[in-house]
């Protein structure tokens, strides 16, 4: 299972501990993750279940390419990082 970690900034709103989640794609990993943590879903994904505009996800150090369908593959031992993109001031 992939290891998933969240930005520290989300913790103020929803406690999201680093955890393991199964899945072969970002979508599958997030679906499994949010099944156990439903309130976090709306903080990461928008109404259409795409990645929020100012959020980003890295898999093993590489930013994902498909922010809409979340089809980027995730390996069995991948590290997934859910961060906010830098914006604003």
């Amino acid at each position: 299972m992939a290891r998933v970690a969240f930005t520290a900034n989300i913790q103020r709103h929803v406690a999201c501990r680093e955890t393991d989640a199964a899945g072969g794609s970002v979508r599958e990993v997030l679906d499994n993750l949010f099944a156990a943590l439903p309130r976090a879903r709306g903080y990461v994904l928008d109404d259409q279940a795409a990645l929020r505009k100012h959020m980003t996800i890295f898999i093993d150090g590489e930013m994902i390419h498909d922010r809409v369908r979340l089809s980027d593959p995730v390996g069995e031992t991948s590290h997934v990082y859910i961060f906010q993109a830098l914006s604003g001031g």
Binding site: Y43, D46, M55
Partner: protein
């Protein structure tokens, strides 16, 4: 008389209360550091609602409890149909996603728990369970003319005003920037355009008088005479005496007819207040002098109210939800983009500054 204000700001929800020495900011601040865009008080049961915009993490809605606040459901759009091509005025795909909660209103006294919510990009939502869940009003969203709505202050359309007829809660008016005024008399099952007589000076001549082309900034209704409605529009002030079917333009108002908010006296349909800026391209008070304008005769004449307001080097803009009136019609308050907050207890004759150091103020509401 109301003795408590909710002041929604870029950096938190401030409580302003009437004390023995005047109106003061309470030490306790809710959501300090967070962007609070709007509040609603449900006078039917005393609950309060607060809309937040967490930026990266999206828009959220909170409801008061006995001990504080709880996050409740955020109005969310259904899946955009596969293959549907719907673009905004810039040619980019219109995102079916709540970008801002821009209007919150309670239903009628005969329908406890019913709430209405207006959003950017233009969707109207309804809740029948105090906000536990929300449903997109498809009859309006799927209306073929909704596609003609455009961005006004934002890039995409925004639904900012919701008015429920105090005599019949099935009758609801909404206003869109830009998309004009829309009306339902069957609780939202069907909608018709309202607003003949308004004039838009920023569109091609053939659209100037088209009700759908009107950039209504704010729509206000007199509680005692619901057929009387006032509009602060992008290029003017308009008034209706027939429930929004027809509007007349009010001209010759000094210092200007440009602004965002309007409030109407709850009992006197002829009395309304505005906070003018120079014009759309110069959104600042004229001559750096912050004033409120008031008519007491249905728009035939206006007074310029300035006592207690800064007379020089004031660059305050007052957003459409940042002017409030209480149920007596005597107490008014407004907050500005530069962090000023003023209260009047005599219908605007004299104002007292509560503070000038708040974060930018988005909304002011009497609790």
């Amino acid at each position: 008389m109301s003795e408590r204000l909710f002041v929604s700001t870029r950096k938190g929800l401030f409580h302003v209360v009437r004390a023995r020495n005047g109106w003061v900011i309470d030490d306790h601040v809710d959501f300090l550091g967070d962007n609070v865009s709007l509040t609603l008080t449900d006078r039917r049961d005393g609950r309060h609602f607060a809309a937040l915009d967490h930026g990266h993490f999206g828009v959220k809605l909170h409801r008061s409890t006995d001990t504080g606040w709880e996050e409740i459901a955020t109005p969310a759009y259904p899946p955009k149909p596969e293959g549907l091509e719907e673009n905004d005025m810039w040619g980019r795909p219109l995102e079916w996603s709540t970008a801002r909660i821009w209007a919150l209103q309670t239903g009628g006294t005969n329908e406890p728990g019913v709430l209405w919510c207006g959003t950017i990009p233009g969707g109207l939502f309804r809740s029948v369970d105090h906000g536990d869940s929300w449903t997109l009003v498809r009859s309006l969203w799927d209306h073929p003319k909704r596609r003609q709505w455009m961005g006004g202050g934002a890039d995409v359309p925004g639904l900012h005003s919701i008015v429920v007829d105090p005599r019949d809660s099935r009758r609801v008016w909404i206003a869109v920037s830009t998309g004009g005024i829309w009306f339902t008399e069957d609780g939202g099952a069907s909608w018709v355009q309202r607003g003949e007589g308004m004039r838009a000076d920023h569109v091609p001549p053939e659209l100037t008088h088209d009700p759908i082309a009107q950039d209504v900034h704010c729509l206000a209704q007199c509680q005692a005479m619901p057929e009387r409605m006032w509009v602060q529009h992008h290029n003017g002030i308009f008034v209706s005496s027939d429930g929004g079917r027809n509007f007349s333009e009010i001209t010759g108002v000094e210092p200007s007819v440009f602004g965002f908010p309007v409030v109407v006296h709850p009992k006197d349909p002829d009395t309304a207040w505005f906070v003018p800026g120079i014009k759309d391209e110069k959104r600042i008070p004229r001559d750096g002098r912050l004033v409120v304008t008031r008519t007491r005769d249905g728009g035939r004449s206006f007074e310029t109210l300035h006592v207690g307001l800064p007379a020089t080097h004031a660059y305050d803009v007052v957003y459409r939800h940042a002017l409030a009136i209480d149920d007596t019609g005597e107490v008014l308050s407004f907050g500005s983009t530069t962090g000023g907050l003023w209260v009047s207890e005599n219908a605007g004759d004299r104002w007292t500054m509560v503070t000038h150091t708040l974060p930018p103020v988005y909304a002011v509401r009497f609790a």
